[in-house]
Amino acid sequence: MNQNKQPGMSLIVQTVARWLKGFIFLYGVYIIFYGHLSPGGGFAGGVIVASTFVLLTLAFGKERSLGKLGKLLASELDSLGALMFLLIAVLGIAWGRIFFLNFIEKAVPTGNFKLFSAGIIPLCNVAIGIKVAASLFMIFIILAVIRVQEVKGRRRLVTTEKRRKE
């Protein structure tokens, strides 16, 4: 419904999205980092972070969000998240001969100036958050760019970039 040739949705949506995107992203990060103490965690936070990029795509078109987080980078982050999670698990073997051992000291604050510690759980949440955010963004983008097209008499899946060239 956009009259000028600019991709995306109307000016109102774009303005609101521009204001909100930072807050939504930050909220996602908060959920990831606070997941071991309150409801939430890596998965929920990761979904919220990914939704920032989904919002950008819907409001401004996919070029804008791909400019912020390219497909290659998203794919690397996706793998990185999974590898981080595994690394934390394997560090348990290095530390105490047990896979997934919670090797960082755990503590419940009893006096002043003491920190609450859940061991490796926040680190795992960060890894899961990166993984989930990157994969959900990838799924959304793939659904947005892939189309079915006739190529040499057969119906095939092609990305929109390739499609424009042909």
């Binding site: 793998s79 990185l80 999974a82 590898l83 348990g92 896979f99 997934f100 051992l101 919670n102 119906r155």
Partner: protein
């Protein structure tokens, strides 16, 4: 015991590492994937004869997640990692010519291996579901890897049916957890022994049974298999038919019925009848196929019928026969699918009518197909003969001579349909045979020949594993199942 966790952790790590690092260097994904599966094969070889329980994160049995290693698990680990090493070796040249994007292929392949190794090792219901889903989802993607219309259709069909089966399993796990407040398989078995079954646990068991019968593709739950297995790239077909339906289908069925819920005469009757039905209908449907890989796919159903028949008999000899046939089937069926891949690699077709006289041009492929065909049809001295013989003897010994007759008829029909492959593809020619194209065919590259030769040798020598019978290699494996839930609980919970 720390090494068994690497059977899951290593392929998982490499599945994510290969796409990160492999974009720059062309040969790196091949080398890394083959090195991974080789290391996995060595690790799996080291588990033979050992048993133990590994508590993840140091949390002991009923509360934490445990991995359980026993003879049955190590048999399956050996099969999975042997076939996956052969398949990755075969993939190097095969993928180069026929497909793109090796990075994604190896990534999904190793995820599938991680899922199967996990399924075979785990002693926890929810963990079982997670590993099952890792293996299944990777296989859905791999079936549609070529992205042609019919491959995507097969993949979608597989996805829908497989997801319904997975939902059944998840629902069953939820019901069991709601009723018994535990997810540990041994603890569930213990609580069932103490309190007996009620409606909820019986219903959960039926859901699990249906879910895993679908994954194991036994008739009448087979509809996805004849489409899914031929559509995948050949090494993946070898993995799917050779190990996936066993690791996430038949193995879990065996484990759950024998070690968790306990086998009953009714279950035994169910298994033998499903076994006979799959055996006969599978082979009859295979007879009419003209697509090389589709014919093989129907034979997978039929041969799984033999396995389930042996398992369903419930006698030591029957269990031995069933499990031995499971091992043998993984060898000769993966060999046959790799052979079909070689043929497709050269001729570019899977239609038997378009092939002909390949034995003159591709001696290794033709020879290994002949070995595998004789094995699957139960001709001595190949491994298939010995396992079928044991199953038939077990049926006679159990006083079920009728079942033995069906097994013999199934075997003869198998021989008939494999004569067809030999006649049209290798030693004769089909209707649409093109001599012009035929003149250009040559033997496949060395890296594709090695797995064919190794698997042929194993098919020829496989009968030797039977040496000693129940006192030899198979004794401890059958012991695990005959011990029933009591032994399983004892080995994990110590009560």
């Amino acid at each position: 015991m720390n090494d068994i966790i690497y059977l899951v952790a290593l392929p998982l790590a490499m599945a994510f590492f290969i796409p990160m690092i492999g974009r720059k260097v062309r040969w790196l994904p091949d080398v890394l994937a083959n090195a991974t599966t080789l290391v996995l094969l060595i690790l799996a070889g080291q588990t033979v004869g050992r048993e133990g329980v590994y508590a993840l994160g140091g949390w002991a049995a009923p509360l934490g997640i445990v991995l359980v290693l026993d003879s049955l698990s190590s048999l399956l680990l050996l099969i999975i990692n042997l076939v996956s090493f052969m398949a990755t070796l075969f993939s190097v040249d095969y993928l180069e010519k026929l497909y793109t994007s090796k990075l994604r292929y190896y990534s999904l392949f190793l995820l599938m291996v991680a899922g199967m190794n996990g399924t075979v090792l785990t002693g926890d219901f929810f963990n079982l579901f997670v590993f099952l889903e890792i293996a299944s989802i990777a296989s859905y993607a791999l079936v549609g890897f070529g992205c042609e219309a019919d491959e995507l259709e097969a993949s979608f069909k597989y996805l829908v049916i497989g997801s319904i089966a997975s939902t059944f399993v998840l629902l069953a796990v939820a019901l069991l957890y709601g009723r018994l407040a535990t997810l540990n398989m041994a603890h569930v078995a213990w609580l069932l022994q103490q309190n007996g079954f009620d409606r909820v646990t019986t219903f959960a068991f039926v859901l699990l049974l249906v879910g895993f019968l679908v994954k194991g593709a036994l008739i009448p739950f087979h509809a996805w298999l004849p489409d899914a297995h031929p559509s995948a790239p050949a090494p993946i077909s070898a993995m799917l038919s050779g190990v996936l339906i066993k690791a996430i289908g038949i193995y879990v069925l065996i484990r759950l019925t024998y070690n968790v819920f306990g086998i009953t005469p009714m279950l035994s009757a169910l298994f033998t009848s499903i076994g006979v039905i799959s055996m006969m209908i599978g082979v009859l449907l295979a007879l009419g196929q003209w697509d090389f890989k589709r014919l093989l796919a129907y034979h997978s159903i039929s041969q799984m019928g033999y396995v389930v028949l042996g398992i369903g008999l419930g006698t030591p000899l029957g269990l031995l026969g069933g499990l031995f046939h499971l091992l043998n089937h993984s060898l000769f069926k993966s060999l046959l699918f790799l052979d079909s891949g070689s043929v497709e690699y050269e001729t570019g077709t899977r239609e038997l009518e378009k092939m002909g006289n390949l034995s003159q041009k591709m001696p290794v492929t033709a020879g290994s197909t002949l070995v595998a065909s004789l094995s699957i049809s139960g001709i001595p001295p190949f491994n298939g003969f010995w396992s079928k013989l044991v199953i038939i003897l077990a049926a006679v010994q159990a006083g079920r001579a009728g079942l033995a007759v069906w097994a013999v008829i199934g075997s003869i029909l198998t021989l008939a349909s494999f004569s067809k492959i030999q006649r049209y593809a290798f030693f004769g020619q089909g209707k649409d045979f093109e001599p012009g194209k035929w003149a250009l065919y040559q033997e496949v590259p060395l890296l594709m020949r090695i797995p064919l030769l190794v698997l042929s040798t194993l098919c020829l020598a496989g009968g030797l594993i039977l040496w000693g019978g129940l006192n030899g290699f198979w004794g401890p494996v059958v012991e695990v199942l005959l011990g029933g839930p009591a032994d399983y609980i004892g080995s994990i919970l110590g009560r």
